[in-house]
Symmetry: none
Subunit: 227 residues, 2 copies
DNA sequence: TTCATAGTTCATTGTATAATGAACTAAGTA
DNA sequence: TACTTAGTTCATTATACAATGAACTATGAA
């Protein structure tokens, strides 16, 4: 098979309406049962099963059996990033009509993108990290400066340890609301984890939206001159 | 329309086999005619036209009319980025297969286009002029920066004089081999004349091809960091 | 002029594949 | 044990939309 056909295979797979909705729902990184996903996409369980089988075969999803339930989740962070970046192609006019909706304000301001922080806040923090010379953008990645190693160690994040992990360390992820890059990879995950554990931000229930606590505002301002 | 439906709209658009092949072909950043794209995708011209209209409407492509041809290209770098990132999801990728380019013969490498320089060299020079901030692309034209005025005056080219002429000063011309823009207009003519007069390049007899002299190579490298 | 080529539009046909119903396995429950 | 729920498989149906032919505009060339 030629490369463009392989690309077409992936594109077709993502292109079905029902599958697109399911994948979008899975963007929070959580695992959902087949029945839950069928409700999301508003199709029969049989049909859902068929779609899920295809997504599994393409290694876009992974499945975990637990009793009589099967929990489906995105195979890895890369899948999530591709889906989010595809959303950045939604025509400007349509994006505007979405982000001005009151209920989507929080999701566009700050949300999780699978395992790291996205939205306006995600981009702002990344910008600040670059401005403070903590990280530096190189091609599609970021490198951490000597100063940055120190900065992250204050958050109990050990750069050397993270680099040892198999997964990507610190790469760029395209944000669909901001149309700009933000920090992803194991470093992005570590930062998100720290912020949640230390109550800088809180996840909203049943949503990818997060909100910044007053402590978080203070810390981000002190450490990154963010606000 | 909800966000997941809009995502589905984009995904569906990219998901058609024929469209996927066309988009993949356009990844090189060059512009192609509708007929050429129909050959790439191996479908009829009518069908191609239909697909292109959809991609245009979604602002994934832009079109430029030139005579009876319509040149289609990706709307911006983001589109290319997303397509490439989607290709990264191809399972057990054998993406290492290199995309072969048609080898450039002298007629495609450098040739005159009516009264200015075209071909790969023409495009390269134009790119370098932009990169060095000597000229700046604005819509279908180029403007010359203050730095640029100085740069051209070193070649005895007086920008103010050229602007007084009735004909177009510096517009974009689409190259058929490179499918990318290069400098045309009175400024393009003046530059070509200078290069010939000063033996940077020589016209081949009975041909539009030109060859670059060793002096030309040196000068273009010194002044534009071209090679 | 007239002809050829590039490209589009529109109505019709064709087809790939999604959705569905019925029948099934497998796990949990009363 | 029988019964319910989760999920799948398979054969059939339905449908969205891609492909096509015919007719059209527009540019360029003889």
């Amino acid at each position: 098979m030629e490369i463009e056909n392989k690309f077409g295979y992936i594109a077709t797979l993502l292109g079905d309406k029902a599958r697109a909705i399911m994948l979008w729902s899975l963007l929070d990184g959580k695992a959902y049962t087949a029945t839950e996903l069928s409700i999301c996409a508003n199709i029969s369980r049989q049909s859902t099963s068929n779609h899920l089988a295809k997504l599994l075969e393409a290694q876009l999803l992974i499945v975990e059996k637990q009793g009589r339930h099967r929990y489906y989740r995105l195979a890895n962070a890369r899948v999530a990033q591709v889906i989010e970046s595809m959303a950045s192609l939604i025509p400007d006019a349509q994006i505007k009509s979405i982000i001005t909706k009151p209920k989507s304000q929080s999701i566009t301001y700050a949300r999780t993108c699978y395992d790291h922080l996205a939205g306006e806040l995600g981009v702002k923090i990344t910008d600040a990290l670059v401005k403070q010379k903590i990280i530096e953008p190189i091609y599609n990645k970021y490198i951490v400066s000597a100063l940055g190693v120190k900065w992250f160690s204050n958050l109990d994040i050990n750069i050397d340890e993270l680099k040892l992990k198999k997964r990507s360390f610190a790469h760029k992820c395209l944000d669909w609301t901001e149309r700009r890059h933000h920090l992803a990879g194991s470093l992005g995950t570590a930062l998100l984890e720290y912020m949640i554990c230390n109550d800088w931000i809180r996840k909203k229930k049943n949503s990818r939206a997060v909100l910044v606590t007053s402590l978080g505002t203070k810390e981000l301002n002190d450490r990154l001159k963010l606000f």
